[in-house]
């Protein structure tokens, strides 16, 4: 799903923050980007996992 070598967390955080209603100073962009890079690193075994095409997401809404 994601190629860590091509993923640029600074560029991504800069672009995505306004969409989340967040406003960061340039210093904070760097800090959040570092934290996101760690998320990508720890999340990599899931993000690179090949899913069976018919698998559903875990939570099921029960009315």
């Amino acid at each position: 799903m994601i190629d860590p070598a091509k993923f640029d967390p600074v560029a991504y955080v800069t672009a995505a923050a306004p969409a989340m209603g967040l406003s960061f100073t340039p210093e904070r962009v760097q800090i959040v980007a570092e934290a996101l890079a760690l998320v990508v690193r720890i999340g990599a075994p899931a993000l690179s996992y090949k899913l069976p095409p018919d698998s559903e997401p875990a939570p099921v809404f029960i009315p």
Partner: protein, 467 residues
């Protein structure tokens, strides 16, 4: 007579019920002990003295009238400060929640213990919004491990673990999203149960990551844990994640042994990343339970990663309004992880939720052949407060997110886990081992834990410096 603080909950309740002790005497003794020893561990963030004395007087009055005071009559308890306690502000370890009005009523779990006769002594320290494994809370101070005050008490329910291990209370309430009951149980050397997802109501607690949040009790013996757990069961129409299950009590079958139970040791992911002492402790438990095989959950690392992504995204979404307007009021140790979580795209989150479902099916396949799986709870014994990195067998990882390496794959799919303590695992400090069951099989886990306790393999006395 044994000092009250080292007595078990079941023994205290028995003495109160037969009028050898009054609940008021017990409450006053516990309050005095908190006043003299809590500062060393910083487990309590609020002591509810007036309520405790009133609750105790009510128990004594019930007994005087000849009414049943409940299975936990007069037993001192406290709750992680994300549970509502009538009249106190529910902080969830944060500065931000100080603005809340005091709780108008008890959380469901607090009310259940109150109904069972237990006496609430206060609220306990935790990682802010339950986001952490170390309870190094910058707003309320770090919680210290009773076995070594320079070390962490684990998290996020660190106060809940330390209060029980230090003999400040007999039982406590915590929550577990990725390991927050199992990690403190492990490093404080006590028993803790994270039940099946949906078993116990979370009503009246501050949610951290709703699709993964569980609640559960801590105690110093399997019998105490069983009574505490049984008392928490019951239907709460206000928690929509609670499953429609009958109350399935564990106390009555606690001593029935493990005859016919099929037990295996989890290896692969669960024997990597940890110290030799921790693996030796798991071996000790495995041998005592007559483990017949070593088995793997091949996608455990992917499941752990999925839990990490889901937690990051959900936790941030729950706090997004405050992250937008007052980010500097968040805990510095988790604020930037929280902000990064707000950046996670929906595709990553949904992918992680599908990994979770696939892994659930993988675990179900394993439970066709096995009843209990054994794995360490933490990669190491308690680490020094302030330590940022974990180095084990040449692998260097950031400490705070790494403490859940063995617990996260399991809570990711909501399996019940009872953590049992092995004292002196490294010659001095304790560590916990997870007994993992198929969904809704808590009673089997309690029976196995009782066998380990009876054999003298697992025990949870008050920490030596606090006896």
């Amino acid at each position: 007579m044994t000092e009250l603080h080292t007595m078990s909950a079941t023994e205290l309740a028995r003495l109160v019920r037969q009028r050898t002790l009054s609940a008021t005497e017990v409450a006053k003794s516990a309050l005095a002990r908190i006043a003299s020893r809590n500062a060393e561990v910083n487990a309590f963030t609020e002591v509810t003295e007036t309520r405790a004395l009133a609750d105790a007087a009510a128990v004594d009055a019930k007994i005087a009238r000849g009414d049943d005071p409940g299975m936990l009559a007069g037993v001192p308890f406290a709750a992680k400060n994300l549970f509502d306690i009538t009249g106190t502000v529910t902080l969830a370890g944060s500065k931000i929640e100080q603005r809340r009005a005091p709780a108008a009523k008890d959380a469901f779990a607090v009310a259940r213990w109150h109904e069972a006769g237990a006496v609430c002594l206060g609220a306990l320290n935790m990682d802010e919004y339950a986001y952490g494994f170390t309870t190094e809370n910058s707003h309320y101070g770090a919680c210290h491990n009773p076995h070594d005050l320079t070390r962490i008490a684990g998290g996020s329910s660190g106060g809940s673990g330390a209060a029980v291990a230090a003999g400040l209370v007999q039982i406590s309430l915590g929550t577990d999203t990725n390991g927050s009951i199992r990690v403190p149980a492990s490093v404080n050397g006590i028993f803790g149960i994270k039940p099946t997802y949906g078993r116990l109501s979370r009503g009246g607690s501050v949610l951290f990551c709703p699709s993964l949040d569980h609640i559960g009790p801590f105690a110093r013996s399997t019998a105490d844990l069983a009574v505490a757990y049984d008392s928490l069961q019951g239907d709460d129409p206000h928690d929509h994640a609670q499953a429609a299950r009958p109350v399935e009590r564990v106390l009555r079958t606690l001593s029935t042994g493990i005859g016919g139970m099929r037990t295996a040791r989890l290896v692969g992911h669960f024997e990597e990343h940890g110290t030799r002492e921790v693996q030796n402790a798991a071996t000790t438990v495995a041998q005592a339970l007559g483990v017949a095989a070593h088995v793997e959950l091949p996608d455990a690392a992917a499941a752990r990663a999925a839990a990490f992504l889901i937690t990051s995204a959900e936790a941030a979404q729950m706090r997004l309004p405050d992250l937008r307007t007052r980010p500097d009021d968040f805990e510095p140790l988790s604020r930037d992880r929280m902000l990064a979580g707000a950046m996670i795209p929906a595709q990553w989150l949904l992918h992680a939720q599908r990994v979770r479902a696939v892994f659930r099916d993988q675990a179900w396949d394993l439970f066709r052949n096995w009843d209990i799986l054994i794995a360490p709870a933490t990669p190491t014994v308690a680490t020094p407060i302030g330590q940022d990195w974990l180095e084990i067998e040449g692998e260097r990882t950031p400490l705070r997110p790494s403490f859940g390496v063995y617990t996260q794959p399991i809570s990711c799919i909501g399996l019940p886990v009872l953590t049992v303590p092995i004292q002196n695992a490294d010659g001095r400090l304790p560590v916990g081992i997870q007994l993992i069951g198929a969904p809704w099989t808590e009673s089997l886990l309690f029976r196995a834990a009782a066998v380990l306790e009876e054999a003298g393999i697992c025990a949870a006395p008050v920490a030596p410096n606090f006896q």
